[in-house]
């Protein structure tokens, strides 16, 4: 449950200094693309905040999003986020099970009404009254609506929750939909990816804690700090693209020389995410650096884009069309921007089908 003390008071008692807060704040400012001078305000904001109650719902998903955010390594600055939140319900991670787990969810909702954050991974099946995925005797739809009713904000993590993802791929047998197709009266932040980059999830929660508001979102409801640029724009192989030097297969000389992977299906030009800058596994690498093209997993309908190994120019539909849309779309701050984003997101989803 949420602690009545501020995070500053709570962590000072445990010997965590304000210098550590400031270091965390510098890290958060950097990954959120805020100026370094914002670190002081972030540190103060976190110190004055109460421990944030988080209810995590998992629906039609593979648990990859949870694996991503709880990646195992030595305790470090990146893990401080787990001291800042109270994860009151997560049916994979919590000790309680059965009715005790559901009682914990209800208690957190009652105690923190209007203040708790709901994190959702997985899509929600609507076909045949939603019977294709149930938890504790109720459908995912019922659990989502019940839990979000008194939430402060909703964070949809992973491409299943944000856009329907793999469960919604053609022919979408369960009638899977995204969270924003159901919840329309709360601010929703979409953090897409299969799975999302851990820093995109923790950075967004830290921003909410520090400033008590929604970060600036793109036209798909995603934080611009992480989804503001195409992977292609920040790819270290971009100079080869500019020179027309492409790998033609995964074992040719071009591939060995690290040339651009566009012609073997890389979706980097139409994929907006921070893989090329934040990278994965603590900054070790990202798919393109490891020799494989981007799958476009953070974009709507990525599973139905015509094949991972077909170049964009020959893939089904016209993906470059929605790349253009991504570039020109604007965004605003707060709940209003979330609503605008939702409308645009729905438009993009329809065009992509």
């Amino acid at each position: 449950m949420s602690d009545k003390k501020t995070l500053g008071e709570m962590l000072t008692e445990r010997g965590v200094s304000r210098r550590t807060f400031l270091k965390y704040a510098s890290y958060t400012a950097s990954i959120m693309a805020l100026p370094p001078t914002a670190a002081t305000a972030i540190a103060q904001g976190i110190a004055n905040a109460r421990r944030q109650s988080v209810i995590w719902l998992s629906f039609q998903e593979c648990t990859g999003c949870t694996e991503s955010i709880t990646r195992a390594h030595t305790p470090s600055i990146e893990d401080l986020i787990f001291d800042f939140i109270s994860l009151d319900y997560h049916h994979t991670l919590m000790n309680a099970s059965g009715h005790l787990a559901e009682e914990a969810r209800m208690a957190a909702m009652k105690e923190n009404a209007g203040e708790y954050i709901v994190v959702v991974d997985g899509s929600v099946p609507l076909k045949d009254d939603g019977i294709y995925s149930t938890i504790a005797g109720i459908t995912n739809l019922q659990m989502l609506e019940e839990t979000c009713k008194d939430a402060f904000a909703v964070i949809a993590v992973g491409s299943c929750a944000t856009f329907g993802g793999i469960p919604a791929a053609n022919p979408n047998p369960t009638g899977a939909v995204a969270i924003s197709d159901i919840i329309t009266d709360k601010p929703i932040i979409n953090i897409s990816g299969c799975p999302p980059i851990p820093e995109a999830m923790t950075g967004t929660i830290s921003y909410l804690l520090s400033f008590g508001s929604i970060p600036e979102l793109d036209h798909l409801g995603r934080p611009k700090a992480f989804f503001g640029e195409a992977i292609h724009d920040r790819c270290y192989r971009r100079p080869f693209y500019e020179r027309g030097m492409f790998a033609k297969s995964f074992d040719d000389e071009g591939a060995r020389q690290g040339w651009c992977l566009f012609e073997v299906g890389c979706k980097g030009p139409v994929t907006y995410n921070a893989c090329a800058t934040l990278k994965w596994n603590g900054g070790v690498s990202f798919p393109i650096q490891s020799g494989h093209g981007c799958l476009g997993c953070s974009e709507p309908n990525f599973w139905d884009m015509g094949g991972f190994y077909k170049p964009l120019s020959t893939a089904k539909g016209d993906p470059l069309k929605w790349a253009g849309g991504a570039v020109v779309a604007g965004a605003a701050i707060g709940a209003a921007s979330a609503a605008i984003a939702r409308n645009k997101r729905n438009k993009v989803l329809k065009e992509g089908k």
Partner: protein, 134 residues
């Protein structure tokens, strides 16, 4: 910083970014001298190659002050050979650089003890004296 193993030739090439950063530092340093206004540059946000980073670090050098900190991972701060220009490096998991910035100021905030920590220190020492030296 880790090198791009797939294409080492790219990361070894200087792009001229170091000179751009040095020019920005000069402007900040002049502002600090004239009005006391401090400023910072987030190095992680810039497309610096390994060669650019090395060029920048060599150009600024290391001056009189250096501090190491243990703050949920290692951190290091040093004043460059240009007084008022500080290099701040915070490491995260596995000792990898989590964030790195140039701060142009009299003294970086991370080195100043926060009043809350001073109060907590006084309370802790008082308790220690009361329980072990009565």
């Amino acid at each position: 910083m880790p090198r791009d193993s797939a294409a080492p030739c790219l990361s070894e090439r200087a792009t001229g970014m170091a000179l751009s950063v040095l020019t920005e530092i000069l402007q900040m340093l002049e502002a600090l001298a004239e009005s006391g206004a401090s400023g910072s540059i987030d190095l992680r946000s810039l497309p610096l190659s390994d060669a650019d980073r090395a060029e920048l670090e060599e150009a600024l050098g290391r001056g009189e002050v250096r501090a190491e900190m243990e703050l949920a991972g290692e951190s290091e701060v040093w004043e460059t050979t240009y007084p008022g220009v500080w290099w701040i490096r915070h490491c995260g998991a596995g000792g990898k650089i989590a964030t790195e910035e140039i701060s142009v100021c009299r003294i970086p905030e991370i080195l100043i003890t926060h009043p809350v920590d001073i109060e907590a220190a006084a309370a802790r020492l008082k308790k220690e004296l009361e329980t072990t030296h009565v």
